[in-house]
């Protein structure tokens, strides 16, 4: 058994393999993970909207030991990851990190937001540091406005940047 605690180091090896197979393979995998994650979050979003997202990530914050601030109001949800345990473990690893490790988060969350009619602005800030800010808006115009403040904006399958 690869312990659940070590999943991210396994994930990292998967990303490195898929990167050798091309961008399409990597994106297809993110979409497969996104589909898998729907069983945990889709119903919450469809029934409770931003409050459902807040509930999901409040649970994740505890269970995945995240140092994360969560905030939501009627317009948007903000996840401010101060210390991401996922990237932290990949960096504290005898195997080399995949340079675009952080991209998987947008890769699975983005398609779910597209499917449910929300608009995500995912600022990785710096791929070498375990911190990021994700904002999810109801109003696409507010999302586009928020994109202007991002340091390193992520796209995802179906939502390419520039």
């Amino acid at each position: 058994m690869i312990p659940s605690d070590h999943f991210t180091r396994f994930y990292n090896e998967i990303f490195k393999f898929l990167e050798t197979q091309g961008e399409e393979a990597l994106e297809a995998y993110w979409l497969a993970i996104s589909k898998n994650q729907e069983r945990h979050i889709l119903d919450l979003i469809q029934t409770e909207g931003l409050a459902g997202m807040y509930e999901y990530w409040s649970h994740i914050k505890i269970e995945e030991n995240c140092d994360m601030d969560l905030d939501f109001d009627e317009d948007r949800l903000e996840l401010r990851m101060n210390v991401c345990p996922s990237l932290s473990k990949v960096l504290d690893n005898d195997a080399a990190p995949m340079e675009r490790y952080c991209d998987h988060c947008a890769g699975w969350i983005g398609p779910i937001m597209d499917k449910t009619g929300y608009h995500m602005v995912y600022d990785v800030i710096d791929r070498t540091k375990p911190q990021c800010v994700t904002r999810i808006f109801k109003d696409p115009a507010k999302a586009r406005e928020a994109e202007k403040d991002a340091k390193l904006l992520m796209g995802w399958p179906g939502h390419k940047l520039g």
Partner: protein, 152 residues
């Protein structure tokens, strides 16, 4: 052959997120379907060789303690039903109820037929080039026997 006191490269505390096992199952299905079992095996072997390099180096040096401690630490964290018997000639890990396998079964209903390859292939890779072989025998659904013994 083994004691409890050797250091571990990766030691975890805090909460356990068992749903990651569901993502492993999805990943195995994805890789096997698109790239074949050999590709999946090679990734598991890379985990054994490159992620668990510290355990592997200990095994190459003839020291099984870190691997035994690793087993205890993580099977305890996941509340598995298991025991470890340390004998003169072999160390046997008997897993009667694997938390990972049963969690996936409960979560998605379908456990990949290659799910336990993560254990077999990773064990083989950790033992590569060492005086030990680690054999993994799947004894049933969510149960197995893993044996470390000196190569003949």
């Amino acid at each position: 052959m083994a004691s409890q006191n050797s250091p571990m490269r990766y030691e975890e505390d805090g909460n356990v997120h068992l749903d990651f096992h569901g993502a492993v199952n999805t990943t195995i299905d994805f890789i096997v379907e698109r790239f074949g079992v050999d590709a999946m095996d090679e990734i598991f072997k890379k985990v054994g060789r490159d992620v668990y390099v510290s355990i592997r180096q200990d095994l190459i040096a003839g020291d099984t303690r870190q691997l035994v401690r690793h087993w205890k630490h993580f099977f305890d964290r996941e509340n598995a039903d298991y025991d470890i018997a340390i004998g003169e000639d072999e160390i046997v890990l008997t897993v009667r109820r694997c938390t990972a396998w049963h969690h996936v079964k409960g979560l998605v209903g379908h456990v990949s037929p290659h799910f336990c390859d993560q254990t077999s292939r990773t064990n083989e890779a950790m033992a590569e080039g060492s005086p030990y072989a680690i054999d993994t025998e799947i004894t049933g659904e969510g149960s197995c026997r893993q044996v470390i013994r000196r190569r003949a």
